[in-house]
């Protein structure tokens, strides 16, 4: 059964999460991808710090619509591949006090170490879940640096309700990606060794 997470969240609550935990996230969080990360390590961004401290950073390039009354709405809000932010993420976690990173595909060793040190987790969203995840974004509170960065790259402050994800890297150095890679490699080698009977097709041997 999924654990309910309310943002903001404390360091000790984050350290209670373990890899494999299923969660549902509610509260305010912020999006950011390539351009935002580059910007965040170049300067200390006060606004972002306020938006992201003790909350989650979501690797997402949303499709956003503005209705007649000027309200923004997320039309598609699936995760983007996180490993592209590997060169920046450790520093972003340290500087801005982020407690969680949401994305897909997992991240590398540097980020994992930073997560252990500062108390942060990686939450894997389900790729391809465009419609369901957009429905989880109940309100767009505002947008930071829309002008220079553009819609997909800007930092959107959004309120989510029961946003589903799985903890795949925890604050204890655990990584579900590493565990599953190792066990699946073993299984793959076993399968290869088992082999198949000689092919009945004579052509295959030529």
């Amino acid at each position: 059964m999924p654990k309910k997470i309310e943002l903001p969240i404390t360091e000790s609550a984050i350290r209670e999460l373990r890899i494999g935990d299923e969660v549902e996230i509610s509260g305010l969080m912020v999006t950011g991808r390539d351009a935002a990360h580059k910007h965040l390590v170049k300067t200390f961004d006060e606004t972002f710090h306020e938006l992201a401290k003790d909350r989650f950073l979501y690797h997402c390039g949303p499709v956003v619509q503005r209705d007649g009354s000027g309200e923004w709405r997320f039309v598609a809000a699936g995760p983007t591949t996180s490993i592209r932010e590997e060169p920046y993420e450790a520093e972003v976690i340290e500087r801005y006090g982020i407690r969680g990173v949401i994305g897909k595909g997992g991240m590398g060793k540097r980020t994992l170490d930073a997560m252990q040190k500062y108390g942060c987790v990686y939450l894997h969203a389900i790729g391809g879940l465009a419609v369901v995840l957009a429905q989880c974004v109940v309100k767009v509170h505002g947008v930071h640096m829309l002008d220079p960065l553009g819609v997909p790259e800007a930092m959107w402050s959004i309120e989510v309700k029961d946003f589903p994800a799985v903890v795949t890297m925890d604050a204890h150095g655990g990584s579900l990606h590493e565990t599953i890679f190792a066990s699946s490699r073993e299984a793959a080698l076993r399968l290869m060794e088992k082999g198949i009977e000689a092919p009945p097709r004579s052509a295959a041997a030529k």
Partner: protein, 398 residues
């Protein structure tokens, strides 16, 4: 011929906002294999929910609407040049209506064309055929899963793969293990054995046009597909790589002749958002992924159902003949024959219920078709295909 642009637009909308029945069934079966309450179970559950929500909203099931791959089989009553214009036009329309995300990026300048049209995009294969009518198949291949595809050149000592079926099997196991959940697992695995580098990958993609629940007509490959579909689950990668009992939904293998010096094995990974659709025009009937489209846009005035049945029978006979003649394309032709047979049954069924509606609709549509034809022509002139920057010889002629 009338413009098929609105029909192709509907094909794109339909394909982008849902999954074929066989894929949905496979996802539901995968869910039911897991413990209720486990993360694998709820992940599958959410995937299925997402498809339902997308269908309802006519919205793309995944924001990556992928590479558009069209396979067109056209009869003597169609012109490939006009079909190309219609398809490209429909792609533009679909992007405007947000059925598609603008996904065509100039590789040199990084600029997005904004309408999914560019050099080599969309990607259309034409196959002429002798029987009248038209079949357009569409696959939307996501970028994430395309990235985890792999091509092997045998022998490959790193995985102990020699130039035989056991070597082929090792490549498939290796590719699926290395893909982990990155291609939005569980995947359906298309495999091309033999050919050259291009046709080998092409075969692997063409395999993905097969239904998940079909059977390879080649008994050796059928056995390998079945064995791998079962044993690859032991990798335990599960949906999205979260761990679980289902790592692949199916494995589809095709083989081509090769030159003695080369032995390629190409693996294409299709994510769970496995979008493929089919538009078929037989006489004045239009089928969308096997279902009769009503109202159809009649192209001819003949008593349709009998003609369609006759055409289907002829096509089936032809397909069988062809399969005897060309050994390597056996499976495709047989599949086509089976499809045609199904189409006939459907046509018969549709006949009684649709007859009344059709009679009423016919006189009305006849006039409007003529008007539409005119309109289509002017629209077509306004939507030119972008000049192919590269010379024709540089484009792969597939």
């Amino acid at each position: 011929m009338a413009s098929v642009r609105p029909l192709v637009l509907e094909l794109i909308r339909h394909t982008s906002s849902g999954l074929p029945e066989d894929v949905l069934d496979a996802l539901a079966r995968a869910r039911d294999r897991e413990e209720p309450g486990s993360r694998a179970y709820s992940t599958f559950e959410r995937m299925i929910q997402n498809v339902e929500a997308a269908r309802e909203a006519s919205a793309p099931i995944c924001q990556d609407t992928g590479t558009l791959i069209f396979y067109v089989d056209y009869g003597p009553d169609y012109s490939p040049h006009q079909l190309e214009r219609d398809i490209v036009g429909a792609v533009r329309d679909a992007t405007k209506k947000a059925y598609l995300r603008p996904n065509a990026v100039d590789s040199i300048t990084g600029e997005n064309s904004g309408d999914n049209v560019g050099v080599g995009s969309p990607y259309i294969h034409f196959h002429p055929r002798r029987t009248k009518g038209l079949r357009i198949r569409l696959m939307m291949k996501g970028g994430g899963c395309e990235n985890v595809g792999a091509q092997y050149s045998l022998p490959d000592t790193s995985i102990g793969a020699g130039r035989d079926l056991d070597g082929v099997r090792r490549c498939i196991i290796d590719a699926v293990q290395k893909a982990q959940g990155y291609g939005c697992a569980p995947g359906t695995i298309g495999v091309g054995v033999g050919g050259d580098r291009v046709t080998s990958y092409m075969e692997s993609k063409e395999q993905l046009f097969r239904r998940i629940d079909d059977k390879n007509p080649d008994p050796t490959l059928a056995a390998l597909e079945e064995e791998l579909t079962e044993s690859l689950q032991q990798l335990g990668i599960g949906p999205m790589g979260f761990g679980g009992k289902t790592t692949v939904l199916g494995v589809k293998i095709g083989a081509r002749h090769r030159v003695p010096a080369s032995f390629f094995v190409s693996v294409s990974y299709m994510c769970w958002a496995y979008r493929r659709g089919e538009l078929e025009i037989k006489g004045d009937k239009v089928y969308l992924s096997g279902r009769r489209m009503i109202p159809a846009e009649p192209r001819r005035r003949t008593a349709a159902s009998t003609t369609a049945a006759r055409t289907a029978k002829k096509a089936a006979a032809r397909a069988t003949k062809k399969s005897a003649r060309v050994g390597s394309s056996t499976k495709k032709s047989k599949g086509a024959a089976a499809n045609k047979a199904k189409g006939t049954a459907a046509a018969k069924k549709a006949k009684s219920t649709a007859a009344a509606k059709k009679a009423a609709a016919k006189s009305a549509t006849k006039k409007s078709t003529a008007a539409k034809k005119g309109a289509a022509k002017t629209r077509l002139k306004a939507a030119p295909i972008p000049s192919r920057r590269a010379s024709a010889t540089k484009l792969p002629v597939l």
